[in-house]
Symmetry: C2
Amino acid sequence: MTVRHSTAAPRYDPVRYERGRLTVLDQTRLPRETVYAALTELDQVETAIRTLQVRGAPLIGIAAAYGVCIALAGSPSLAEAQRRAPAVLARLAATRPTAVNLSWALARMERAIAALREPDWREALEAEAAAVHRDGRAQDARMVSHGLALLAPNARVITHCNTGPLATGGLGTALGVLIGAHGKLGGLHVYVDETRPRWQGAHLTTWELAQHGVPHTLICDGAAAALMQRGGIHSVWVGADRIAANGDTANKVGTYGLAVNARHHGLPFYVVAPTSTFDLALDSGAGIPIEERSPREVAAPEGLLLAPPETPAWNPAFDVTPSELISAIVCEQGVFRGPKYDLRKDIAG
Amino acid sequence: MTVRHSTAAPRYDPVRYERGRLTVLDQTRLPRETVYAALTELDQVETAIRTLQVRGAPLIGIAAAYGVCIALAGSPSLAEAQRRAPAVLARLAATRPTAVNLSWALARMERAIAALREPDWREALEAEAAAVHRDGRAQDARMVSHGLALLAPNARVITHCNTGPLATGGLGTALGVLIGAHGKLGGLHVYVDETRPRWQGAHLTTWELAQHGVPHTLICDGAAAALMQRGGIHSVWVGADRIAANGDTANKVGTYGLAVNARHHGLPFYVVAPTSTFDLALDSGAGIPIEERSPREVAAPEGLLLAPPETPAWNPAFDVTPSELISAIVCEQGVFRGPKYDLRKDIAG
């Protein structure tokens, strides 16, 4: 593994699609190895999403869109592809329950499939998946631009989980803003929560910050409050997996406790996510399904037996931060400021 | 490793002294192996404390008292032992900076050494160390009894780090109360914070609860807030490494953020510690030295490389919870209720 401390654009691409083949950077092997996996079957795509080889709410949506192409572009006819589509969409939708970008991207593919016409339907299907990816990149660029307005030079910030290019296939969400601030504002220092149980902060965010030459320090999740208490922290930045109409935000477990501590210390708490993460069908976070993953991720992570083998563990992958703890939600349309949100009205068509 | 789910007394003893030999249960190897190490030299005792083979604020004090015996009981004469004593005491005092029980126990040994008389000075020295241990056991029993008054049957509680028999050589502090509640009140369920970076919750507390047959569930530190939000938790219980006169409490990193979240959810937050943990020379927690340990405990724990090798990490071993977040401090003298404490007046002689 080589980590370059440079300001050059990163030389990694979390997903890349060429007809019938989705090449993904295996995020479960970072930072130890930079290994790409080629996925050519639907069940490989499902497994890659389920096992977190591909993760990050926006990136899951993009990978699923390409997964639809892998499953259907080889169909002998358009009619056959359209007949098979519902089952394919349902299988992909079932891979992860919390991130709504997944169902958003699949709904978009579903509409495209219904509109496909002979003879170039395969190209049109793949063009739609590429558009999901391209639109995501463009949204990231706009989010980063909006988010920069919330930062000043020499900011010291805390972030949780991974929300960089690895999570979106573009510039990233919260981490995209921070990487942008490093280049545009200068003097940034990012404190990175390790983000148990899967260590996306330790594994991925430190790796991305090193790739972009952004000064950073890794901390245990439990040390964030002590860091805030010590003083000198300016704001806290996270992404989102699903945001209800009232602004309640599901994100990686640990986010909620971090938001409570940010509030206790009077620190702004910012959520950065594209509108494809908004679930306007939900009035509040109470309706967001929370994925519970294997207890082994807690008790025996990465082969390390932390507790007696029969120890029961509770492993919610996400938690819900009530909107009143969120200072602002940054999306590609702009900055919505709390503590009250009505995202159904806030967002444009 | 065998874990018995029984209600019988545990068959482990974290320290045991016989003339010139301190046998310690190596807590760095739990829960994988139950291995005892025999320490017969001062530098072995220092290393055992520094490397956390022996840990837990009260137990560190007891081990250090026995360490004084190991270092001095072999002296050819009392005069020689008294001449060497200051250097021995200084070496042991330097092993861990935050827990005040260490300096408390060493001060007690220092007074005893000054009072030693020929010819039975070796026996008297060892008797004083044994008295430190015995007094600690008696204090634990009284703390457990006082703490039980704060619990009702069928309590669901959260605890952080390890504060059981392994931490004190007696019944334990906070975990001692909980183990007592399991036997006396019934229906207890303990949620155990894994307690990064050293995993004392995952490694030690789950192991102790299993030994005592207490139902429990391991969680990541970052999941405690989500657990509180879900409802059904009654109180939070922790130990302490040093408590200032105003009640400010240094304890394992993560305690402070947990206390902030307990307050946010209206949950009682209880600290259990013997008066030997009180540092009445300090007006507030601002004067408590916080040990910073190796960044490797964060970035590469137990041989697992979590982040790129050059990743900087911040690793405070403790944090300070302001007294206004503490609902009550339980010691062997009784229960002191907050939010205001004046421990100089509260405690008896």
